[in-house]
Symmetry: C2
Subunit: 229 residues, 2 copies
DNA sequence: CGACTGCTTGAAGAAATTCAATTTACGTGG
DNA sequence: CCACGTAAATTGAATTTCTTCAAGCAGTCG
């Protein structure tokens, strides 16, 4: 039997539930829990999609590679997020644990099956796909048209929304992950963060080697860098 | 009564039909045809989504703007394509006719209604959203990690697939549209095309003012620039 | 302890943008 | 019908932004 041990964040409190795949009398598909060490691959691009995942604890990066190794991270999956959904037989991204991560798994097959007969499940599949689409669309604008400082500002605001209730966010990912998410290099990300720090807009703390404690000091100025469309 | 006057391209021959919204005994929602002059807005970002559209003739660009006017085109909709679908009340893009364009329209409401009760309609909605998602995901990699020449090469290959059966493609869009699709400037796109021309990989023809007849001369070389992931 | 990773910063270089000029077509109106 | 203004595209030169290369520092882990 599955017992939820962590309170999931409000914005996606019951996504597997909405899915009708965890609660109620009829949980179809075995619901497994699985732990991944930091850096471990969860699935690879092109592999058959067997499971759908939800993050119990930790963080996941989802990326594509060019043949020469250039990497583009499409999304980070944080606690509560569901990922691995794909209408199609195969995964279109590779995913890895950013830190030690625990996931819940359900069989994709069972989702498909239930979606075929149950309207609410089908609607949820659609709304989750639509949410991913919206994220990707916004990210297109960022990658195509924002400069380095704007990209980093947008990133910080996104992460602030998604992982800090307290006002201090503790980024799970390295600068290289941020860089590959924003279409920049590590150095450029670092320089942008330094500039934001010098300008008194954010404070970057942590030891010299893992400076991932970020506080937004001047939200208005940060928002003014995160241009609206 | 609707009479289809143009043969739609094979790859999306009956998308509205798949949708169960044009054929059969029960076409729900009036199916209107509407003509847009080149440059005309079809709908704006943030507006309520009233219709779903299919391109009968012409081409459409779908874009977002930053507050200072920088533009990112997310997608071009060519003959046969369906667009304007959004699970959500509002459009997330502005769309405009790239050239004089005729569209078929159906009421979004009627699609939603039928999707609620008919499995096949719901599944089609999902698969179309998933197709858009896949396109956006691939475009993220292009925008974030490809250089100018690779971007243009990828663009030409995409357009070649989508609009030329003959081997010569006649681009409906201006260089500025291509630039805003690829996250470049007009000049950079022009220079990339010139380089591809000088290298004998493509030929760019047309009068000096509308050089939009493009022939791929060396498909292998072009593909080698369009790196796989 | 020593190799390694993560991060920052500086200097040099490359790629793309910006600015500017030119060409050619198109459309509008005198 | 032709002149004029405008739009689309290309090309060159200057500039900017970002990347690449290089070095250094501080933690971590075996």
């Amino acid at each position: 039997m599955l017992v939820r041990t962590t309170a999931a964040p409000a914005q996606c409190s019951n996504a597997f539930d909405d899915f009708r795949l965890t609660n109620g009398e009829n949980p179809i598909g075995r619901l497994n829990e699985f732990a991944y060490k930091r850096g471990t691959e969860i699935y690879g691009e092109g592999e058959p999609a067997v499971y759908v995942y939800r993050v119990k604890e930790g963080a996941v990066r989802s990326y594509k590679l060019l043949s020469d190794g250039r990497r583009q991270i499409g999304e980070f999956h944080l606690v509560g997020d569901i990922f691995g959904l794909t209408s199609g037989e195969y995964h279109r991204f590779t995913t890895e644990a950013v830190v030690d991560t625990t996931l819940w798994l359900i069989e994709r097959q069972s989702v498909e099956t239930r979606a075929r007969t149950e309207g609410p499940v089908a609607r949820n599949l659609l709304s989750m796909t639509a949410r991913d689409l919206k994220h990707a669309e916004d990210h297109l604008l960022l990658l195509g048209r924002k400069d380095a400082l704007e990209k980093v500002a947008t990133f910080l605001i996104e992460m602030d929304k998604r992982l800090s209730a307290t006002g201090v966010m503790s980024l799970p990912m390295a600068r290289s992950d941020i860089a590959d998410y924003l279409g920049l290099t590590v150095e450029t990300v670092s320089r942008a963060l330094s500039r934001l720090g010098r300008a008194g807009i954010v404070s970057v703390a942590g030891n010299q080697c893992l400076r991932r404690e970020i506080t937004i000091l001047d939200r208005l100025k940060l928002l003014s860098l995160d241009l609206q469309d």
